[in-house]
């Protein structure tokens, strides 16, 4: 993770009393403060486009009408406005830091956005505090967390409850009158959050947007009337700075680096600001970091040490030429000092005037950044010197010219230095990084080794006992080769920034190709199978299925044959049908959200539905709810024994579904009412019901489920002499039934939870992912050992990842759904909301891990029943180890390789906007894999041990073997982690 390290080695200012310090600053800087009071009004999430328009065009008419006063100020030239480009990540806390310190912070600030620590770097507020200013803050409590001891008076509001769009702003505005009346403050910060919340709820086009803009306009009007206009002729001057920390996408989210998100506003309204000769809607490009040096120089405090911004010259027009150049010079010196910290060998600042003149003559700047910056700096200094020289020698005629040359060369240097610094990420200690990467590599190689060992043992067990694999000695089939290709291509694609941006295409393409290969193999086996009976027969249906003793045994535990109408076991058509369903669902999922960055404006199904209106979406929601319920109950009643317990599970499923439906009916997300108590309580009841029933099923079902066919054993015993084999068979069967029930419960409840908390538009995609996973499991279970097990696990894992993007997620932080994270939470809690946000974002991968529990029981375990001394260990390895370790392996490969890629790309142009957010996603996916794998492993082990305990009496040796295996398994897990 690249970070920008603050420069902290500069000498400390000795502690002076504030008054002395203030006059010292004035002496040193030779610039009198232009203003003495500052009002910083932060409007969270306001895109500059709303106020200043896009390009050179004024904003839309209703935007103009929403902010009449601001526009009158702009058009009369009393305000200077900029599109202040914000750096990604466009979330509040890092942007506030950037505004007050002028530095671009580390990307990890996103993670701390909701849990802010005090800011320690040099910043404007600290400087103002030192010169004895009184600071007042009303609004977002992030400020108070950043600067805990600086404020004279404070009233924080929480930024985390996004459903509230009225109270947050009222709580700020109610202080205005009192603050206008009092004279004790010098710096007033007003941070309005309402507009950002409006965006999160309804997007840019929300019906709440215009009233909110009007409200903001009224605040600006009141401040202007009360604090600026009445000071026209007095000595003290107040500057009002209206800024936004970031913009928002059309959907109202932010975090990424698109134009809509980074286009934030900087509006300066004050006594000295006079704009007459330009149209207010010209596209004035600036950077958000430029606010810091501008304010510092306007108010006569030192520029923060880590600032990379450049002062906005237009605001210094009221000063004399000398002072203007002096301010540019101060800014240059500050940037040069920062440059020296980054480039230790830089020594051009002290160069004498002769070399400066030489520099001026040598007109060709070298490509080396160091020399180029050096050259620009010398040029600027020399131009300044020659201007001063002319000034002193009273040679007036060329004055203006020289001034312009000096100012332009300063600006040249400042812009170049600023740009260079903004792309610069300081190098971390290489040794630490390298050792970390080597450790990651070693661990993933070890994990790979373990998986391969395991695979070989399981595989040989399979080959030894089961002749169904047609070519046991053929090393690799096409599908297996392709899984390797998928991993390889995915890792490669992480190195290309545009493929990272459009990762949804990669995953859909690769997953669909894998399933197309499955399809071709199915067709191939369909073509082959009838040949064994009759060569020339062209009609599949009249052909009797190729049956073998193994098949017959498989059918005993095979639940999904009933999915097809005909009882004639034509596995082939069943498989064909399932694969085609998976493929079609995948295509629909891909068409649902036009994700990514470059083609986001193309039409897709979700836009179509949004256009069709909320009622259509609601119908879709209810339809998918019903479909999920039908599928879930169908899956549950495929169990062979339907005890009361199963009915209990089913009824709790129905109850939860009913709650979800109630919530859907009640919920009006575009309602004016900020929070709806009834929906909140419904959601809370749902959480309780769903989690209790999932946990209860997990805990109780191994105890309640009958240990199968204890009485049938007698029959077996008579019929065949291999008592123990049959006993184990029945034992396995009950374990399988249990894990199947638990898995079905997990997945069904998970889908219901997603229906509740996802955006309404995502209801159908949830259904599609559920369908895909169910039909994959049907496909894999229709004919065991058709594919090797690890291919099947990989396929489910890939489905989960493709579904992740199908739900509209991208590798930009902007698509994280913040509004959903407050469903069912009545009071503000960062932890709960964070968990919900994680659950929403990783809905699909988690579903695929949960379905592994369901998948476990679908596998061919018949070979285990052949007598083998280590059969229990093989059983455990096959049941649990491979489905757990394989996702871990894939994930560790991706994590390791992406870490290396990020390290290599740390000076890439897109390191902040593309690679760093992706790395956050990769890290979060790692957490998700760990949680999912833990659930699978825990379920499997728990079920297994309970059954061992219950059958302890008939079989004495079982627990002993089990214990060994548990130990060995946990060791494997420890190693893998």
């Amino acid at each position: 993770m690249p970070t920008s390290d603050p420069v902290s080695d500069a000498e400390e200012v000795e502690e002076l009393p504030p008054d002395r310090l203030r006059s010292l600053y004035r002496e040193v800087s030779k610039i009198p403060p232009v203003y003495d009071r500052l009002i910083l009004m932060v409007i969270d999430g306001l895109p500059a486009e709303f106020v200043l328009g896009r390009g050179n065009k004024p904003p839309t008419k209703n935007m103009m009408e929403a902010m009449p006063y601001t526009h009158s100020l702009l058009s009369s030239g009393k305000a200077a406005a900029y599109h202040a480009k914000a750096a990604p990540p466009t979330v509040t806390m890092p942007r506030l830091k950037a505004m007050v310190s002028g530095a671009i912070g580390g990307f990890l600030d996103v993670a701390f956005n909701f849990n802010t620590q005090a800011m320690l770097e040099d910043n404007l507020l600290e400087q103002f505090y030192r010169i004895g200013w009184k600071l007042v803050i009303h609004g977002d409590e992030t400020w108070i967390k950043l600067f805990p001891r600086l404020f004279h008076r404070q009233d924080g509001v929480s930024s985390f409850y996004v459903k509230d769009t009225v109270e947050v702003d009222f709580n700020v505005s109610r202080h205005l009158e009192a603050e206008f009346a009092s004279t004790d403050w010098n710096f007033l910060i007003l941070h309005y959050l309402g507009l950002d919340h409006v965006g999160h709820i309804g997007g840019r086009q929300s019906i709440l947007m215009a009233p909110k803009l009007k409200e903001m306009d009224d605040v600006i009007k009141r401040i202007h009337m009360n604090s600026i206009l009445d000071q026209e002729n007095s000595d003290s001057h107040t500057l009002l700075v209206v800024v936004s920390d970031h913009g928002m996408t059309d959907g109202g989210n932010h975090g990424g680096s698109s134009y809509e998100e980074t286009d934030s506003l900087a509006l300066f309204i004050g006594h000295g600001v006079e704009e007459s000769n330009y149209s207010p809607y010209d596209h004035n490009e600036a950077f958000q970091v430029d606010i810091a040096p501008t304010l510092a120089l306007l108010f006569g405090v030192p520029i923060p040490k880590n600032n990379i911004g450049v002062l906005l010259t237009k605001l210094f027009d009221s000063l004399t030429d000398d002072q203007r150049l002096r301010s540019l010079e101060l800014n240059s010196w500050q940037l040069l000092r920062l440059l020296k910290a980054h480039l230790p060998g830089l020594h051009c600042g002290e160069s004498s005037c002769y070399s400066c003149e030489k520099g001026l003559e040598t007109n060709v700047p070298t490509s080396e950044a160091k020399q180029r910056l050096c050259y620009l700096f010398s040029k600027a200094i020399s131009a300044h010197n020659s201007w001063q020289f002319r000034q002193h020698s009273d040679f007036i005629s060329a004055d203006i010219n020289y001034f312009q040359v000096a100012a332009e060369s300063y600006n040249d240097f400042l812009r170049n230095a600023s740009e260079w610094l903004s792309h610069r990420a300081t190098d971390k200690p290489v040794n630490v990084l390298m050792s970390a990467i080597i450790m990651m590599l070693v661990s993933s190689v070890l994990l790979m080794g373990i998986v391969f060992c395991l695979f070989r043992r399981v595989h040989f067990a399979q080959v030894g006992c089961c002749s169904q694999l047609e070519d046991p000695y053929k090393i690799l089939h096409l599908d297996e080769v392709f899984v390797f290709i998928v991993i390889f291509l995915h890792v490669l694609s992480l190195g290309a920034s545009s493929l990272v941006e459009e990762e949804q295409y990669t995953w859909h393409f690769l997953t669909s190709t894998l399933y197309l290969i499955f399809l071709s193999r199915t067709i191939e086996s369909l073509l082959k199978r009838p040949n064994s009976v009759t060569l020339q027969n062209k009609d599949d249906k009249t052909v009797l299925p190729h049956s073998s003793p193994t098949d017959a045994r498989n059918n005993s535990g095979h639940k999904f044959t009933k999915f097809r109408p005909s009882k004639i076991n034509n596995h082939g058509t069943c498989r064909l049908f399932s694969v085609v369903v998976v493929l079609i669902c995948g295509r629909l999922l891909r068409g649902w959200h036009q994700g990514g960055v470059n083609w986001i404006y193309l039409p897709d199904i979700s836009k179509l539905l949004v256009h069709a209106g909320t009622s259509t979406i609601k119908v879709c929601q209810i339809l998918s709810l019903f479909a999920i319920i039908i599928l879930g109950s169908h899956a549950i009643f495929k169990l062979k024994s339907t005890t009361n317990f199963v009915y209990g599970v089913w009824s709790s499923l129905l109850l939860s579904a009913f709650l979800v439906m109630l919530h859907t009916m009640e919920n009006h997300i575009y309602d004016l009412e900020p929070m709806n108590l009834s929906t909140t309580s419904i959601a809370q009841v749902f959480y309780v019901v769903a989690s209790t029933s999932a946990v209860l099923t997990f805990l109780a079902s191994p105890w309640i489920f009958p240990v199968y066919s204890m009485e049938k054993q007698m029959v077996y015993q008579v019929r065949s002499n291999s008592c123990s084999t049959k006993q184990r068979d029945s034992f396995l069967l009950s374990i399988r039934e249990t894990t199947y029930l638990i898995g079905t419960t997990y997945t069904a409840f998970w889908c219901l939870l997603q229906l509740l908390i996802q955006q309404p538009i995502n209801a159908i995609p949830i259904l599609l992912i559920y369908l895909q996973i169910l039909f994959s499991i049907i496909y894999f279970s229709a004919d065991r050992s058709f594919h090797r097990q690890w291919v099947e696990v990989a396929a489910i894992y890939f489905l989960g990842l493709a579904g992740h993007f199908g739900l509209g997620n991208t590798n930009s932080l902007a698509t994280i759904d913040v509004a959903g994270a407050f469903i069912g939470i009545s009071s503000h809690s960062a932890v709960l909301s964070g968990i919900l946000m994680f659950v929403i974002t990783y809905a699909s991968p988690s579903l695929s891990y949960l379905s592994m529990v369901m998948y476990i029981d679908m596998k061919d375990i018949t070979f285990i029943s052949s007598t083998h001394e280590y059969e229990w260990s093989i059983f455990l390895e096959k049941m649990i180890a491979l489905p757990c370790l394989l996702p871990l392996l894939f994930n560790s490969l991706v994590l390791t390789s992406f870490t290396i890629i990020l390290l290599l790309m740390r000076n890439h142009l897109f390191v902040w906007s593309v690679f760093s957010p992706k790395y956050l996603y990769v890290c979060a996916a790692t957490v998700c894999v760990y949680i999912g794998v833990f659930i699978v492993a825990a379920t499997g082990l728990y079920t297994y041990s309970v059954f061992c305990f219950r059958t302890r009496n008939p079989q004495e040796k079982c627990p002993q073997v089990l214990r060994d295996n548990v130990i060995s398994h946990s060791q494997t897990n420890v190693i893998s982690q």
């Binding site: 545009s498 941006e501 459009e502 295409y505 669909s512 191939e524 073509l527 082959k528 009838p530």
Partner: protein
């Protein structure tokens, strides 16, 4: 003729006939009709199809396996029937893999899948007809028997793999006109098809060597 042993020389002649068809169509499109695959994908694909279809169907009907029970005309009829069927299969594959669906793309998708059908499905249909065994052998790509098997399967797989690889540049943000569906996919398919032809000749030579070695 027919199932009689096809030597490497004959195979390469037939292949070069098909390749010449592609080249001639391309040349005709470029020079005579002033069509460009990038600018006019639908028209160019149609031209390719019209020129390539008779050549392919003719060649592989001549190569049909069951020479006695099936006349050339019947094989040609099979090929004509197989063209839309194979196109449907190819279109399904392409759409499932993410080809855009929409009225705007309907014609190009149709032409592209007809062309792909010509590369993949039609030769096998002409040569094998409804024989399950042969189809299964081609699909599994194992135990290929003779030169005809190689001549049919290797270029077909080449075309599919080429098209698959050709789809990779599509999501990149290079903003080139050829990144549109189905232009780069078509280029990939044709390149793969031609490569597959060369490869199949190599395979046939190797096969004959092996057979001769066994015979001696």
């Amino acid at each position: 003729m027919g199932t009689a042993r096809i030597g490497a020389a004959a195979a390469s002649t037939l292949h070069s006939l098909c390749a010449l068809g592609v080249a001639a169509a391309y040349f005709l499109a470029q020079r005579v009709c002033v069509l460009d695959l990038v600018a006019h994908p639908a028209q160019t694909l149609r031209l390719l199809l019209v020129i390539e279809a008779p050549i392919t169907i003719g060649v592989y009907s001549w190569l049909r396996r069951d020479t006695h029970g099936c006349s050339v005309w019947k094989a040609i009829g099979r090929g004509l029937l197989a063209l839309p069927v194979g196109a449907a299969i190819n279109a399904f594959g392409a759409i499932v893999l993410g080809a855009p669906v929409g009225i705007k793309y309907w014609t190009v998708t149709a032409y592209w899948s007809l062309l792909m059908s010509l590369f993949t499905f039609v030769p096998a249909a002409c040569a094998f007809g409804p024989s399950r065994m042969d189809w299964q052998r081609i699909l599994s790509f194992s135990k290929l028997l003779d030169a005809v098997d190689y001549m049919i399967s290797v270029p077909a797989y080449g075309a599919i793999i080429g098209a698959w690889i050709g789809a990779w540049p599509m999501p990149l943000d290079w903003e080139r006109p050829w990144q549109e569906w189905p232009i780069c996919v078509t280029y990939g398919a044709i390149a793969g098809y031609l490569t597959g032809m060369v490869a199949s000749v190599v395979f046939i030579v190797a096969l004959h060597r092996k057979v001769h070695a066994k015979g001696e």
